[in-house]
């Protein structure tokens, strides 16, 4: 292991004579950081230092996120469903695939980034299924989710899947499970509150 020694501002000020100690630090500090030496513990590589995610819209490359949002409407109420957040671990572009099943044309599925809609799919397609791709550009710790909103006040059962892909994964692991968020069934009496569970 190589030892990290902080270079002070004094060592690099104007007209300061250069010495061997400074050059030793210049040579060894990058090595100590890369090696993860304990002396460099305050200078670990942070998630923002990794290369940005890249993606190709319409390409199911490496899946890194998976969410399912379900809304169950009932007579006399507009029941919207708030999705569960996916927290961004690496900056960059991700390809998002939405697959929505909606019985009502007013129901929309929105990709939400930090609480704001960046893309919306509204209406119904063939067999009430709509599929769309959208590329999001996000920062570390941004929150991404998919919501369902509607003006429908009758009985419906609707849902949307959101899959998130990157072309240049950093880690070894795929996402195979995700989080489901759905409106509580009316028989459970807590109308409108979302909850989450694993989905396979």
């Amino acid at each position: 292991m190589t030892t990290f020694n902080l270079i002070s501002e004094i060592e690099v000020e104007v007209d300061r004579p250069l010495n061997a100690q400074t050059f030793l630090k210049l040579r060894e500090n990058p090595l100590a950081i890369a090696e993860g030496d304990s002396s460099a513990s305050e200078h670990r590589y942070q998630p923002t230092s990794f290369t940005d995610s890249t993606c190709t819209s319409g390409t199911q490359s490496r899946q890194v996120g998976y969410r399912l949002t379900t809304r169950r409407g009932y007579n006399g109420a507009k029941e919207n469903a708030r999705g569960a957040d996916w927290k961004v671990a690496r900056r960059g572009a991700y390809a998002v695939s939405l697959v929505k099943y909606a019985q009502d044309t007013t129901t929309s599925a929105d990709i939400m980034v930090n609480g704001s809609s960046v893309f919306s799919v509204t209406g119904t397609g063939s067999g009430n299924v709509q599929q769309a791709w959208y590329v999001i550009n996000v920062e570390v710790n941004d929150l991404v989710r998919v919501d369902m909103t509607t003006d429908n006040e009758s009985v419906t059962f609707e849902f949307v899947f959101m899959y998130i892909y990157t072309d240049n994964p950093i880690s070894e692991f795929e996402t195979l499970h995700g989080i489901q968020s759905r409106t509580i069934n009316t028989s459970e009496s807590i109308s409108g509150a979302p909850y989450t569970q694993d989905v396979g």
Binding site: I7, E11, V12, E13, V14, R16, L18, L26, N29, P30, I33, H43, R44, Y45, Q46, P47, T48, S49, F50, T51, D52, S61, R62, D167, N168, P169, I170, S171, E172, F173, E174, L176, H177, G200
Partner: protein
């Protein structure tokens, strides 16, 4: 956060005076890079320590996939193969790869092929029984692998054939462990995908 500054070639050319801005950049850049400062070059997958593995050792599973072909008879025998989904390597290194094929006695003879970037690199023996092979294979970031389940029994009723691929390393990058895998089943022209626990045991 330290500020990253580009150091020009002229600033460090032979005979060039060593200026204070150059010294400041040399000092700050080594901190700005791990901090991910806005202008700093990003750490790429190629810059991360390579994956290592031990031969025929089930360390940390990073990928599992299962192909199934079943329920064919003489009336709909088509000898179709079942192609697995590709896995993309995020990091380079040497991984332990375990591939398995399993037919069924006297009726379903199969073999498995291992693809790397679209080309076959290993082919298992064709058999009615279980065939297991281990390899240690070097991959670069963004390399892709997949398996193909081959129906090699053209004359008899095909009942059930299976193939698996498992990929292991012993110094994983990432906190998750791949305890689950995907499977694809080809049954009378229907291709389905799902997620199951795929134990590496036969």
């Amino acid at each position: 956060m330290a500020t990253y500054r580009q150091i020009s070639d002229s600033a460090i050319a032979e005979g060039a005076p060593l200026s204070q801005p150059t010294m400041q950049a040399l000092k700050d850049n080594q901190l700005a890079i791990p901090q991910g400062e806005g202008n700093a070059p990003r750490v790429k997958a190629l810059g991360i320590e390579l994956a290592t593995s031990s031969a025929e050792t089930k360390d940390i599973s990073v990928f599992r996939y299962h192909c199934i072909k079943q329920n064919y008879d003489s009336s709909n025998q088509d000898n179709d193969t079942v192609m697995g989904k590709e896995y993309i390597f995020g990091r380079g290194g040497t991984f332990a790869v375990h591939i398995v094929s399993q037919g069924s006695s006297n009726h379903s003879k199969v073999q498995v092929k291992l693809y790397k970037n679209g080309s076959v690199i290993q082919t298992g023996a064709s058999s009615f029984g279980t065939v297991e092979n281990w390899y240690q294979i070097a991959f670069a970031p963004l390399d892709k692998i997949k398996i193909e389940l081959i129906d090699t029994d053209t004359s008899t009723t095909f009942q059930l054939g299976k193939a698996w691929v498992f990929v292991y390393c012993d110094n994983p990058l990432g906190d998750a462990q791949h305890d689950l895998g995907r499977f694809a089943a080809l049954t009378a022209g229907t291709l389905t995908y799902g997620v199951l626990s795929l134990p590496d045991i036969y």
